[in-house]
């Protein structure tokens, strides 16, 4: 089973940021699909049920941005 997750991200203000976040999130095991919207400052992630919010948060933090909320 996969789930859809919406991550609101703060501080993402350029396109290379979006690219970085996308790459970092894709590295998380169990993540299937990632689209990052620079303009909406959100990442849409499709991942296995077992992927935890914490893992995703870490992946975003690794690139230097802050997660505001996960939905």
């Amino acid at each position: 089973m996969t789930k859809k997750i919406k991550i609101n991200i703060e501080g993402m203000h350029c396109a290379s940021c979006a690219g970085n976040i996308e790459r970092s999130l894709k590295k998380v095991q169990g993540v299937k699909e990632v689209t990052v919207s620079v303009i909406g400052k959100k990442a849409f992630v499709e991942a296995d049920e077992k992927v935890s919010d914490e893992e995703l948060k870490k992946a975003v933090a690794r690139t230097g941005y802050k997660v505001i909320s996960i939905d």
């Binding site: 350029c14 290379s16 690219g19 620079v38 909320s69 939905d71």
Partner: protein, 669 residues
Amino acid sequence: MENEENKNHNMKGMNHNMRNMNHKEHNHSEPVEDREIRDWKKKLIGSWIFAIPIAILMILMRFFEINIVNEQISIIILLVLGFPVVFIFGFSTLKSGLTGLFRFYFNMDSLISLGTIIAYLTGILTFFMEISDYSGVAAMIMAIFITGKYIEAKARGRATQEIKKLLELGAKNARVLRGKNEIEIPISEVAVGDIIIVKPGEKIPTDGIVFKGESSVDESMVTGESLPTDKTKGSNVIGATINQDGILYVKVTKIGKDTFLAHIIELVEEAQGTKVPIQKLADKITSFFVPAIIILSILTFAGWWYFNGEVGRSLGVAISVLVIACPCALGLAVPIALTVGSGIGAKRGILIRKGEAIQTMKEIKIIVFDKTGTITKGKPEVKDIFSKVKESYMMELAGSLEKLSEHPLSKAIVDKASLKRYKEVKGFKVLRGRGVEGKIGNKKIIIGNSLLMKENGIFLKSFSERIEEYEDKGCTTVIVSENAKVLGIIGIADAVKEDSAKAVNYLNSKGYRTVMITGDNERTAKAIAKEVGIKEVIANVLPEDKAKRVIELQKTSMVAFIGDGINDAPALKQANVGIAMGTGTDIAIEAGDLVLVRGNLRGVVAAINLSKATFSKIKQNLFWAFAYNVVAIPLAVAGVLHPIIAEIAMAASSITVVTNANLLRRKRI
């Protein structure tokens, strides 16, 4: 202090919002953006307080060669004035840039950070070695960068204004009937099943069904339909629409995230992150752009040092290279145009679900329309009955059998028969795409199209002529038989939507090959096609075969399929662009690449035009972004551009891209 409070409030709001999208003050994307603009503004003012004296000092020194104090002291002044600009107001930029640098997640800020820090250090180095001082330049670069970001943030705010408006549409409070009392409660406390009272001029707080009352409702904000819709008992109403003239008692069916409005918002937000194929190259370049520029800048420095010998001059050129490169313009070019385009669409009831569709639309040559519910209203009515037996007898049989089927044609027959009591039917079977059969008493009843009759060896005989006559009028003919003998025929017509003909004519005039696909027989289908101006008809197609027919057409060129999204999902998926028609309150969101909230063909024309306009904006933007970098970077390497000019050019390029996208709004669609 006040700010801090505000922040807390916003954060709380955001969490709340996850559960409830309709609440205005609990609105996540708006405060974040506004706060960002406010932050940039503060930095902007702060940095220029220091940067302006720096600029004056630099101009005096450089152009007029006036030194108020000796050179060393003026460098100290520049360093002192420059410090807050680079390290305080530029703190967040440096932090993000350096974190990126050390973790190998390079970003735009990395370039600015390197450029400003190196430039600032030259000022300090002047005390130890022979080198030109760029500390003033460092401050100017940062101040201009911040200014650029501020302008860009504002322009981006404009780009997302339609979506923000959607977010703000939701009602805050609802008047709920509790026992005999009307009480006003926050929308978040409304539950499914509650009865809400909506007075004239008020916003309908959430989705529901009219329980009592009559009124007309302005749904334009959600569906793009400018004419008000009449609502009576049993009608669906959409949250955030405006009740106009009567009092409505509405039974709540959906709240929070399940509402129609929340769905639309989610759809639009999600679509913004989708990719347009044309951006692939730009994305690829953005991903290695920053490290490539850093390397290029080092090479530039080395080259200049080797050939020119002056460390200071070489550093200046290298800094120009760092700050002139603009991955932002490249990376923003497509998403910003897509955002403006989808925002404009959302306002008019056109939802772009996949960015890809915008690009594909340009290649479309064939437009295939489903008949029922797309070209026609999808509400068939019995127009004519011809029978050899007593009409009431035949309709009693037909009504009893058709009552058990869900098909729209069945419903038309049941409505016409309007029986008080239905006969008992045994062995009822739906024969997909052909009709129904069953036994009433010991008589076998078969009702359906001529194909079904043929299969059962039932001869139409004298009815044939009458059937053709019905079909030429655009009626679908249903044949009623009893024990293998035809009793009579029922002509059912589904009226064409008002603007179908106009839209089809427009598409024909634009050179599209228009095709209608339907399960109806050829004659009926042709009659309808002629009425609206469609030249080609593919008739007698079983619902499950529609996708196959699309594949056949795709052999000649790209195909767009327009259907209702519920029965036509496979065909919508198969087509290069699938346009799903909604009915106003119910839309099959998952099915199409583009979704029309209100299903009329005028929307198809608008959707096609919007896609084309958006795509041409995307191309323009990409061209600008590429051209800018292709021209500017070599100029910087050549040492023609002073770092400050380079930074101004960089800021201007990303602002241009965003502003150009906003110009899409001027286009008439």
